[in-house]
Amino acid sequence: MHAGQFDHVAVPVALAAVALVDAAFAGFRAATGRNARIEKRRYNLRAAVRGLAIGAASLAVVAAVLGIGLLGTHDAGHAYDALVQAGHRMLMVLMPFAAAVVVSLAGYWLLPMRESTFVILVGLGPFTLARPLVVLAAAALALHDSHRWLVWAGTLLASGGVLLVEPWVHRRWYHEPL
């Protein structure tokens, strides 16, 4: 399969968008259970921004490694194609999961409290536990049949970065309760 022109832009943009939104939520989760005040909108927002910043930094590292890798290879066009195809495979796992999370979040915010509890217990709670497995599955599919070191480096760095945001933000800013 050849990556089309559209995919050349859409795949990296979609992956970056998913990673950044996920990082903001990871930042929020890193701060939860540490502040028992009632009013904590600003606290939560700040945690999400911290997650976003760490996520953006980790994305920048991935972009830099891939950029340098592409510049240093003699068949940059094919290498970029291979990266886009790997990213495409990643999205096949990540997108359905992201869609399920978005639907659950909308349900949690919009539904009456009992249905909202239902969404937490069958959706958002288990999803938090499933998230690392989903990232690993996406990485495994991306690496499937690929022998290019750039694909391996990009996939492993990106997946590791996504999984590290929450523990990082937690350790750095929320290790001690307020």
Binding site: T32, A36, R37, M113, R114, P177
Partner: protein, 312 residues
């Protein structure tokens, strides 16, 4: 075999003097191992101790951390809103029956989330006094600190659920009933049978078959403290069956007792928490009227919820 929670075993105060009692690690681990709970024993063994006695400061810090995480769960399950759904009509019924100086007391309030939430939103009206009580002075100190920090109009005090000094128009609690064995439940409810009391609303984990697995997933996903994860699952395992609760509350004798469970939501994923409600019979009709359609969710002893389980 007894199902134990670590948090019940690692801190104790003399009921008479209020003095802190030393807790020997070996005593706690011995009880946990006797109950077959080796994992809990290992969690306790890793807690800081001096000469075999648990260090009170680190126990206190741990319990505050766990209760802060617990508040997050309560926020996600909309616990405060669940109370308001019943508290508002119950207080309105009391008002219209001429009750003055309305007061809500949360028994076993921990760090006081529900009371502080009610104080922040003032949804119950300016004439309602809000008080949280707990036997653990450290949690009460934390609740007071948090309330002061946000300038909230509510109070907190140390009190034993079985010897309440605090009168209330409505007593409430959440996640407390399962801390008492069946034969103490009657005393718990009787302690709230006061002349000025209109009723009570006690929420606890619904003792469904799915509750322990659900609690495992939920606590695993949302809590970092091993103690919190452990106790969360055991709370679900030791939660009292509906019939047990209704029967124990019925021992009060002077109140109508109900289980509040909307029929459409009796599936275990929606009914993770559900309350036992007691109300003076003369206020019962007003409560039903004020609840409107939701009054259909009130199930008396002879009108059980479809999923009402036999005594456990």
């Amino acid at each position: 075999m007894a199902v134990l929670e670590i948090s019940d075993l690692i801190a104790a105060w003399d009921p008479g003097t209020g003095a802190r009692q030393p807790i020997a690690v070996a005593d706690v681990t011995g009880r946990l191992r006797a109950a077959g709970d080796h994992r809990a024993a290992r969690i306790v063994e890793r807690m800081p101790a001096t000469s075999g006695v648990l260090e009170p400061e680190s126990v206190d810090r741990l319990l505050v951390r766990v209760h802060t995480e617990l508040q997050r769960l309560a926020e996600e399950l909309h616990m405060a809103e669940r109370f308001v759904e019943l508290l508002r009509p119950m207080l309105d019924a009391a008002r219209s029956a001429g009750f003055r100086r309305l007061r809500v007391v949360d028994i076993g309030c921990g760090i006081g989330y529900v009371i502080r939430w009610l104080a922040t939103t003032r949804v119950l009206g300016a004439d309602v006094e809000l008080l949280g009580v707990d036997q653990n002075p450290v949690l009460i100190a934390e609740a007071s600190r948090l309330a002061l920090d946000e300038g909230l109009p509510c109070g907190f005090a140390c009190a034993d659920a079985f010897a309440l000094a605090e009168d209330a128009t409505v007593y409430i609690s959440s996640g407390v009933l399962h801390h008492f064995p069946v034969d103490e439940l009657g005393d718990f409810f009787r302690a709230q049978d006061r002349p000025g009391t209109a009723g009570f609303i006690h929420y606890d984990i619904a003792a469904t078959r799915l509750a322990p697995a659900g609690a495992w997933v939920f606590h695993r996903a949302r809590m970092r403290e091993l103690l919190g994860r452990h106790d969360g699952v055991n709370s679900a395992r030791r939660a009292h069956g509906d019939r047990t609760l209704v029967t124990a509350a019925g021992q009060v004798g002077t109140m109508d007792i109900f289980l509040f469970a909307p029929i459409r939501h009796t599936n275990p994923f929606c009914a993770a928490m559900r309350p036992v409600v007691g109300i003076r019979p003369e206020l019962s009709p007003a409560l039903r009227r004020l609840l409107g359609r939701r009054a259909r969710a009130l199930h008396g002893t002879d009108d059980p919820v479809p999923s009402l389980r036999a005594a456990t």
